[in-house]
Symmetry: C4
Subunit: 391 residues, 4 copies
C-alpha cells in the first residue's frame, strides 16, 4: 500500500508495509471494481495504485485474450516476477493468459489426488494383516485426513485464482459476492479438468493394486462385493432413500458454504482478518463434513470431485454402472451441491452478513430475477464497460 507513499515511509518501514500488502491483498487491484472475496484474499481499502502498476505486467494482447475468457485483464502476478525478457517467451504469455485456470486446475488436481488416494489406500488394503498394526494401511479416518489436507494443500497451490476448487462455491461467489459471472465458465472448466486428471493419476498409481484387489482385470461398481469404483467417486449406502441422498448432500453443502462465508466475512469478529488461518480452517471443516456427514452419500459436495472422477472411471472401463448405480444416483452430487451452497450462502447472508449482497437489498434480491431489473442491470453493465474498458 505504501509503495506510492515513499516520502512518508522512509527506511525499513517501507518494505514492511509492502510485505504486508503482498501477503494479504495482492489480488486486490484486480478486483477493485468488485467486492468479490476470493478464498485466499482479504479485502482492503488501498488498491488504487495497482491499476497503475498492472499494465506493466500484462501485455495488451494478453489482456484481450484474458477478457475474452472472462478473466480480469491483468493477471495476478508478482510485480518482481515475469518482467524483462522472460515475459516475452511464448509460453510465459500463454501462462499469463491462463493463470487462474492453471491455478484452479492444479488446486483441484492436488485435492483429488490426496482425497481419492486416501480412499484407494484404505479401501484396497482393508484388513491386510501384513500392515504395521495388522489391520490395513489406514482406517476410515485416514479418508477424512486425505480430503481435509487435500483441500488445504490445494488452497495453497491455487492461491493465484482465489482457490475456489469447487464450481458450487465459485457460483455462490458470483451470486452473492459480485465475482463477475463471466469468469464462471473458465473456472468451471479448469476445475472439472483438474478432477479428471487428478483421479486419473490415482488410478494409474493404484492400477496393479486394483487388479490384485478385484482379482483380475475386471472393474466393478458398488454394491458389488469387491467394487473399487468407490475410490474415485461417491456411491450411496443401499438403505438411503433418494430424498435422503439429496438431503445429505444438500445439508453438507449448505454447511460448507455457510462456514466458508463466515470465514471470509471481514465483518465477523470471530474470524482472523489475515488469510493465514483459512486453509487450516478448511482442513477442519472438510474433516468435519467427512466425519459427520460422510457416511450416507460420501460427502461429494463438489461436482469437480465427483462427476470428473466418475467420467474418468467410466473412461478406463468401469462400465455404465458408474451412471446407473444407486438408481442413477450420479446426478445428485452434480445438482445438490449447487443448491445446498446456494441455500447455505442465503442463510449466512440473511442472518449474519451485513455487507453488500443481493440478500441485503429490497425483497431479498428477488427483484434481480425480474426481467425489467435484469435489463436495467445489463444496460448499466454495458455503460460501465464502455467507461472503464473492462469489468
Amino acid at each position: 500500500m505504501a509503495v506510492t507513499g515513499g516520502p512518508m515511509a522512509p527506511g525499513p518501514s517501507l518494505s514492511r508495509d509492502w510485505a504486508d500488502d503482498r501477503s494479504d491483498n495482492h489480488l486486490n487491484g484486480l478486483n477493485s471494481n468488485t467486492s468479490a472475496t476470493p478464498l485466499t484474499q482479504a479485502r482492503t481499502e488501498h488498491s488504487a495504485h495497482s491499476t497503475e502498476l498492472s499494465p506493466h505486467r500484462t501485455s495488451s494482447s494478453a489482456q484481450k485474450t484474458r477478457s475474452v475468457l472472462g478473466l480480469h485483464p491483468n493477471a495476478p502476478i508478482d510485480e518482481e516476477h515475469d518482467h524483462g525478457p522472460r515475459s516475452e517467451l511464448m509460453w510465459s504469455r500463454i501462462r499469463t493468459v491462463l493463470r487462474e485456470p492453471f491455478a484452479e486446475f492444479w488446486g483441484v488436481a492436488i485435492m483429488v489426488m490426496f482425497g481419492d488416494g486416501s480412499v484407494a489406500q484404505v479401501l484396497l488394503s482393508t484388513g491386510e494383516t501384513t500392515a504395521p498394526g495388522g489391520n490395513g494401511f489406514g482406517a476410515y479416518q485416514s479418508i477424512n485426513w486425505g480430503w481435509g489436507l487435500g483441500v488445504m494443500l490445494g488452497l495453497y497451490v491455487a492461491g493465484d485464482s482465489g482457490a475456489y476448487l469447487n464450481p458450487a462455491i465459485t457460483f455462490c461467489n458470483c451470486l452473492y459476492r459480485q465475482l463477475p459471472w463471466r469468469r464462471f465458465p473458465v473456472y468451471f472448466l479448469a476445475q472439472i479438468l483438474g478432477g479428471f486428471v487428478g483421479s486419473g493419476i490415482v488410478y494409474a498409481n493404484y492400477i496393479s493394486a486394483i487388479d490384485w484387489f478385484e482379482g483380475g482385470k475386471m472393474r466393478t461398481v458398488p454394491p458389488a462385493k469387491k467394487a473399487t469404483a468407490g475410490i474415485f467417486c461417491t456411491y450411496p449406502q443401499p438403505f438411503v432413500t433418494k430424498a435422503s441422498q439429496f438431503f445429505s448432500e444438500f445439508i453438507a453443502s449448505a454447511l460448507l458454504m455457510f462456514v466458508v462465508f463466515a470465514l471470509k466475512d471481514p465483518s465477523n469478529n470471530g474470524v482472523p482478518k489475515s488469510d493465514k488461518w483459512f486453509p487450516l480452517c478448511l482442513f477442519f471443516l472438510i474433516f468435519g463434513l467427512g466425519s459427520c456427514f460422510g457416511w450416507e452419500t460420501g460427502y461429494a459436495i463438489n461436482i469437480a470431485r465427483d462427476f470428473s472422477p466418475r467420467l474418468m472411471s467410466y473412461a478406463v472401463g468401469y462400465g455404465s454402472e458408474v451412471w446407473t448405480a444407486g438408481g442413477y444416483y450420479f446426478w445428485i452430487p452434480m445438482v445438490s451441491p449447487f443448491l445446498g451452497c446456494i441455500f447455505g450462502g442465503f442463510l449466512y447472508d440473511l442472518f449474519i452478513y451485513t455487507g453488500p449482497s443481493p440478500i441485503n437489498t429490497p425483497w431479498l434480491g428477488l427483484k434481480h430475477l425480474m426481467p425489467s431489473y435484469a435489463r436495467r442491470a445489463r444496460r448499466e453493465h454495458i455503460r460501465r464497460e464502455k467507461e472503464e474498458g473492462v469489468v
Copy 2:
C-alpha cells in the same frame, strides 16, 4: 479505528494499526464500560472513540429494542457494512437488533450439527464391513474430532456475540468478568434454540439410517441394545453411581472454564495476546475433554448441547425414557456444568487471575451476596444507568 487519529499516526503505521485494530478488538467499544472478555475479543486501550461512531450504525429505535433485550445499544457491525439505504430495510433492522442472539444461535447450531453428526455416523455405522477399512465409518475418536471442530467452527461463526456457545460459560462471564447480567437471558435462549435446531437437522439427515439401524420406525433409548437416542444427548454408563455422574460432569466443566479463563487472561504470559489462536486451542481443549472425561457421562458440559437435543429427541418420538433413563439422569448435565464452571472459574481467579474479579475483593467476593451490599450495588447501577444512558 485509529483512522480518525490521522495527525497522530502519520505514514504507514496508520494502516497497520488500523488493520490490527480491526482484527482483534472490534467489539471493544461496545463493552468499554465493562471488562467482560467475550471469547473472541482481546482487551485494548483505544475504544473510547467508537462510542462516537456507533450511533451512525445503529438506529435509535433499534437501540431501544436492543436495550430492552439486555444487549448493548450498539450492535457489533463493521463500520463499512450496513450503511446507506441497505440498513433501512426492515429485515436489516431486525437483524441489527438480534445480532448477538443470531450469532449465538448459529454458533451453537453449527457446533451441535458437527458434534451430533459425528456421533450419528459412528454409532449407526458401527462395524459396517462395507466401509473402506472394513469397520464402520469412524471410531470413537471421530466423535472427539466432531465436537472439537464443531466448537472451533462455531466460534468462528459466532464471533459477533462473543461466541460463548454455552450458557454456563456466559453465566461465569457475568459472574466473574462483568458481562452484564441483563444479557444472559437472551443469550441463553438463543443457545438453547440453536441446540434444538442443530440436533433436529442431524435427525432429519439421518432419519433413514436410524430406521435401518433400529430395524423399523421405533426409537429406543440406552441401555436398549439398538438405542439411537445417544446420538443426540448424553446417557451415563450403567455402572456409574449418581455421585460419579455428577462429579464427572463437574470436573470436566471446571477444567473447561479454568482453561478458557487462562486462554482469555490478558495477564497470562503463556497465552497469545491475539485471539487468532483461541478457536484452535478450544479444538484441543474439547478434544481433550472427550478423550479423557468422555466415557462415564459423555462430557455434556453444556446445557444447550444436552437439554435441547434431548427435548428434540422427545419431540420426534423417543418417548419419556429420554427423561427417565439413567435414574432421571437428565438433570445432571443441566445443573452440573453450571456448578463446575463456577468452581473452575473460582479456582482460576483464586490462584492465577489478578485482574478485576469478585474473587479479588475482600472476603473473596462473598460480600456481594449480602443483602446490604446487593442493595448498594443496585443503587450504583441505577446511578450509572442514568449518567451514561445504558450499562
Copy 3:
C-alpha cells in the same frame, strides 16, 4: 519496550509496541541479569525499563519472601492488574509471593489430568461394545492426544512461571541457560504437588469405573490381568531389560530437551521468533514421543508425571507393588529423565547453539566443576548480589 520512549512514538504506535512487548517478553525484566529462556518467553534487548516499573507491583515484604523462596523479587504480574486496594488483600499478597509455584502447580495438574484421564478412559473401556464404533472409548492414539494436548494446555495455563512443567527441564535451564539455581527447589516442589493432585482428581473421577473394571474394591498393578495402576504412572513391558528400560527413557528425554532447546533458540532460523507457536509444537513433540517411544516404558520423561502419581496410587491403596513392579522400575523414570535431558541439552549446545552456555566455554564447561572455579563463581555471585540487591 517503547513505553519509555513516549516522545518518539506518538499515537497508536505506542500501544502496538507495548502490546507486542506484553505478548512476547513480559517476563524479561525479571530475568534481565540472566539469559534464561523460560518456555513461554522470547529474548529481547529492551527490558531495562521494567526494573523501574516493577517495584510498584510487588511490595517490599513480598519481595523479601520471594527472595527467600529463590524467586525473582518482582512477581510477573500485568501492570494493569492487581494495583490499587485489591493488591492489599492478604490473599492477593500471598498469591503475589507464590505466583510462579501456583502457575507450575496448575500447569502440571492440568497436564496430568488430561494425560492420566486419557489413559484411564482408554484402558478401562477397552473393548466395550456399547461404545459408538463398538470398540471402546478411544484407542492407544487417544493417549498420545491426551498427553500432547495436556502439555499444550498446561503451557498456556502456566505462562507466568515460564511453564517448565518438568523438573528435568527446569534443571537443564539452570544448567545450560542461566536460570538461577535457587529457583529450582520451589519449582520442583510445585511440579511434584501438581502431579499428585492432578492424578488424584483422575482417580476420584474414575473410582466407580475402576471398581467395575477390577471387579471389586481391590487395586492391582501390572502385570496383573485387570491391573489399573498403569493409569497413573508407567510400568515397563515385561520383555524389556533394565538397560533398555533406562535407554528408552533416556533417549526420549534427550529428544525432548534437544527439540525444546531448538524451539527456544533465538538464533535458530527455522523457529518462529514469536512464542505463539511453541505450545502447538510441544503438542506435536509429545504426541511424537508417545507414538514413537511410548511402548517399552510408557514415556514418563518427567518425574512429576511419574513419581507423584505413583505416590498417589500408593496412598489410595495400590499396595507396595507400585514400587516393586518391573524389578523396582520406579527409580528409572525418576533418574533417567534428568540424565536424558542433560544429554540432549548437551548435544544441542555442542552442535548447534551458539549463545551463552557452559558448553560454549573452555573445556566444554567442565571447568565449572572444579572446586577453585566454583569458589570463584560463588564470590562473583555474592559480589553481584551486594551490588544489585538480588540475582
Copy 4:
C-alpha cells in the same frame, strides 16, 4: 539487521523491523547473490548490509574452509551470539565451519528417529492385547503422525541450513532455484549420515523388543512373517510390479516437490509470506503422502530416509536380503525420488512459477544442457568469483 540503520528508522519501528527481520530473513545476506529459497527462509529486499556485518562473525580461516566445502563463506549465526572470547574456542570454530552440515545432520536424524520409531512401535506391538485399548500401541495412522511430525520438528531443528532434509529437494533447489551446486555434496553427506545415525538409535532403543518379536537373535526381511527390517527402510508390497513401484515413488516425490515449491513461492497469493506456517504445512503434506501413497512402496521419497537406514540394518545383521528383497527394489527409492522431484518442480515452474527458473528461459532451459552454453556459464561463474571473492 536494521540496527545499523538507526537514522533511517527512528522510534519504535526500529525494534519492530529488527524483530521481523530476524524472524524471517536472517539467512538472507548469505544468499544475497542467489535467489535460492531454503525451506526456512523468505525472500526480502534488504540484505545488502549484512555482507558488511558478517566478517565480524566468521573468521577468515573459517571462511576459507567453508568455501572449500562449498558453503557460503559466512556462517548463518545470530549476530549476538558467538562473539567475544567464546568464538575463539577451537570447537566453536569447527562448529562455525560445519554449521549447515550439522543442522542437516540433526534435522534428518530427528526426522528418522520419529519416523522409524513410529514404525517400530506399531509393527512390534501389533495386536498386543495388554495395550490400553487392547490392540497394540498405535495403528497405521500413528506412522503418518510419526513421519509428519518428524519432518516438522526436523525443520525446526535444522533452520540454519535451510532445512532441506532430503537430497532430492536440495538437488531441485540447485536445479531450479539457484542454490549453488557446490553446496550439494556436503549437504548430501550430512543428510545421509543423519539417516544412518537416526535409524541406528531407533535400532538400539528397540533391540530387546525386536529380539522378543522375532523370537530370538535372528533378523528377517519382508516378506518373512516376523520380519522387522521394514522398521528401518521401505519394502514394496508383493503384488506391485516394478513399473508400479517406480511410479508410486515417482508420483509421491513429484507431489512433494510441487507442493513445497508452491509453499515457497513468494508470488503465490495463497501462501502465507511468513515462514511460520511452513513446518505445519509440511506436517500435513507428509501425513497426506503417507495416508494416500504410503501403501504400495512405503513412501520413501527420500534417499536419506531409505538408503541410510537400509545400510544401517545391513550393518547390524539383517543380511543381504535388505538389498535383494522385492527384486532388488533398493535402488528405486534411491533414484525415483530424484526423478519425481525434478518432474514435480518442472511442472510447478512450467504452470505456475513466474520467477527466475531455468524453465522460464528460452527452450524451457534445455539450452543449459548444451556444451557451448555450459562453457559460457562456467566462464561467467569464474569471472564472478574473481570479482566478488566467492559465489
